[in-house]
């Protein structure tokens, strides 16, 4: 049962994602504990969902549907149509037909790769100038109460423009939800990417940001509806401050 004052006056703005940060956090925390306010929220959410119907009409160009259908066909052939062989299936078929030749080529490639790996290993062992991962800034993210076992590591490129996030031991989510990384600066949260984790809680995502990653003051990961949200709405599972 919620012991805080109700946040009903904040709910209309909550559904429009236009609360300032402090009010958003206040409302989110209260909603998590108050079924009455959640009921009110659903009523306002139903209103917010309908606002799309009141935008001025615009007609998509005719070519857009052709573009859409062209995007779909190669990725997932219709169940009712005969399956067209993908490029790798065709390659596999070709290899089956030419097994003796490919066997010989494969043997040569294996020997060449083994030799080149040995040479590279020797070079790496000797060299003092090889780029080392520790030269890249890394930021550790730690689990919140919602995911105390979880850890995350954000590896930032040398120029600070891009990064890779690796997470471990995060709970696996149902298909309707995904994790979303938030880049925080001056109280503003910008999405850094949406991702899922494998059954053992491991996941990674390439982080792309409008500004250098080094310019953000903190990072956080929340659970959001699949595809991500314009601002954090779900439970925070990982976070850190620089």
């Amino acid at each position: 049962m919620a012991t805080q004052p109700h946040v009903i006056e904040l709910l209309p703005a909550y559904t429009l994602d236009c609360l300032d940060e402090e009010e958003f956090v206040l409302a989110s925390e209260h909603l998590a504990a108050c079924p009455d306010c959640r009921t009110e929220l659903r009523a306002y959410q139903a209103v917010a969902d309908q606002l799309a119907l009141a935008v001025p009409d615009a007609q998509p160009p005719a070519h857009l549907k052709r573009q859409l259908m062209a995007r779909l066909q190669p990725t997932r052939p219709a169940a009712s149509t005969p399956a067209r062989l993908s490029w790798w299936q065709q390659l596999a078929a070709l290899m089956q037909r030419t097994t003796p030749v490919w066997g010989l080529i494969g043997l040569v490639l294996i020997v060449a790769l083994a030799a080149s790996n040995l040479w590279l290993w020797q070079q790496v062992s000797r060299s003092q100038d090889v780029s080392r991962p520790e030269q890249m800034p890394t930021i550790l993210l730690t689990g919140t109460e919602a995911a105390p076992q979880a850890t995350g590591l954000l590896i930032v490129s040398i120029d600070g423009q891009h990064g890779t996030l690796v997470v471990d031991r995060l709970p696996t989510l149902d298909p309707e939800r995904e994790y979303q990384l938030w880049l925080v600066k001056d109280g503003q949260r910008t999405s850094g990417g949406v991702f899922s984790v494998s059954r053992d809680g491991y996941g990674s995502v390439w982080v792309k940001s409008p500004q250098p990653l080094s310019s953000y003051t903190s990072f956080g990961i929340t659970i959001e509806p699949a595809g991500g949200s314009p601002g954090p709405t779900g439970e925070k599972v990982l976070g850190t401050s620089l």
């Binding site: 703005a13 209103v47 309908q50 001025p56 219709a78 169940a79």
Partner: protein
């Protein structure tokens, strides 16, 4: 098979089984709504087209995750479109200030065709109800709701843009949404 007579949920089930024609019908049914929303949010044709393609591609890839008890198909589509559009605006780091935003004028004679299955007729009726409800709001409430909805502005940003006290903006948004809620609930009871 004539997919165009099927309801939205059946079409989504077919999309989940890789029937591209079913997605084509959903596109015919809702592309105008999705494109209109994206265009009004991002303010340029090319980006709105890309968002529209993204929305329907996502439906193609994630149709099996659709839960009818949580939202109508049209709501699912517009939610994705709005999130994508606002995310695009925020990623750009700037918003199209020069792009004026406003709600559609209520023009009953110009409503979308209600021919077709139940969903299309219901959508047309619902559009009329929502547009009438917004038309009934005072202009200052319509204005703040438009800035919040179309541009993803926070209370504080709206107050800055309009040069109005923060408290005034908060009150207008709250009153506007409360009135819409009352009007739409009343419409539902009448309908």
């Amino acid at each position: 098979m004539n997919y165009s007579v099927l309801d939205d949920q059946t079409l989504i089930r077919l999309v989940a089984r890789a029937h591209a024609d079913a997605l084509g019908v959903l596109y015919e049914r809702y592309s105008r709504l999705v494109f209109s929303l994206a265009w009004n949010l991002v303010g340029d044709q090319a980006t709105a087209e890309e968002i529209t393609l993204d929305v329907f591609t996502r439906i193609w890839e994630k149709a099996e995750t659709y839960r009818p008890e949580q939202a109508k198909v049209s709501t699912w589509l517009t939610s994705i479109a709005r999130y994508r559009s606002i995310d695009m605006l925020r990623r750009r780091g700037s918003r199209p200030e020069q792009h004026s935003v406003d709600w559609a004028e209520l023009a009953p004679d110009d409503l979308p065709s209600s021919d077709g299955p139940e969903e299309a007729a219901e959508l047309a009726m619902q559009q009329q109800r929502v547009r009438a409800a917004i038309a009934a709001l005072p202009s200052d409430q319509k204005q703040v709701l438009a800035l919040a909805y179309f541009k993803g502005y926070s209370h504080r940003e709206i107050a800055q843009v309009l040069n109005q006290p923060l408290g005034t903006v908060k009150t207008r948004i709250r009153l506007g949404m409360q009135k819409l809620r009352d009007l739409l609930l009343e419409e539902q009871r009448v309908a």
